[in-house]
Chain length 148, copies 2
């Protein structure tokens, strides 16, 4: 009976134990790159489609944290069609994961014409009831902002 119970545990804890660490990292980084590449071409829906209902969000232009996908969708609306990034470098992406949550951190450099922007980014992904990974927390900040 002990063996059957242990099998049940493995079954219950499910998806991630059957995915090794490198595969999970590659999956999470792939989700992020795909959303980022849509963003860089003026399409915020890449991020919105992989964000959970309870997503929370920080960036340097906000007075305070945004709570929830509806609020984030409204906030992103003016970005649609207004953003163009020529190319980007995702520097040293790292994924720290448990069974059903994964933290992705990286530095980012975005190039548009002569402009270069440097970012720090933290994304937290959670596995949802349907087995998909969704972002529950996004934090964008400027790397060494040039302060007055």
């Amino acid at each position: 009976m002990k063996i059957i119970c242990l099998l049940s545990v493995v079954f219950f804890s499910g998806v991630v134990y059957s995915m090794d660490k490198d595969s999970l990292s590659a999956k999470i980084i792939g989700l992020e790159r795909a959303a980022l590449e849509r963003w860089n071409n003026g399409d915020p829906s890449g991020f919105l489609e992989i964000s959970a209902k309870d997503v929370v969000y920080f960036d340097p232009f906000l007075e305070k944290r945004i709570d929830g996908l509806d609020s984030l969708t409204k906030y992103y609306a003016p970005a649609r069609g207004a953003i163009h990034v020529d190319r980007y470098e995702m520097i040293n992406p790292k994924v720290q994961a448990v069974e059903n949550m994964a933290v992705l951190t990286f530095n980012l450099i975005s190039y548009t014409g002569e402009n270069v922007h440097r970012w720090n980014c933290t994304e937290v992904y959670r596995i949802e009831a349907d087995g998909s990974w969704k972002i529950i927390q996004t934090h964008w900040s400027l790397t060494k902002p040039n302060l007055k």
Copy 2:
């Protein structure tokens, strides 16, 4: 036999299922406040003691992410005895958790004499083998930095 197996699952998934959501939020916020209050009195060890070996870290003064507790300990060394914050407000702290990982986000206002500093903060806590919660990711950024 089914009942016994289910009980095993609950036992295996352990600590957090037996702690309700509000208790976990209070615990995580309490850990953060305690570390922050030591920081505000010039003692970075409050954060270092609750950070995991594999902690990653962003703040606005760094060229890139810091990886690992040893590097963070060196980085914090000059802060010891050099920081004093009169009082702070932790605004709207929110905890999003699964069994063994919890994301804490908040806005912070720090007051020192006439100076007021506004921050965005994301902390990710993970439950360790000994049952303690440790920070594996810290992201501090300035709220609406005053850019040149």
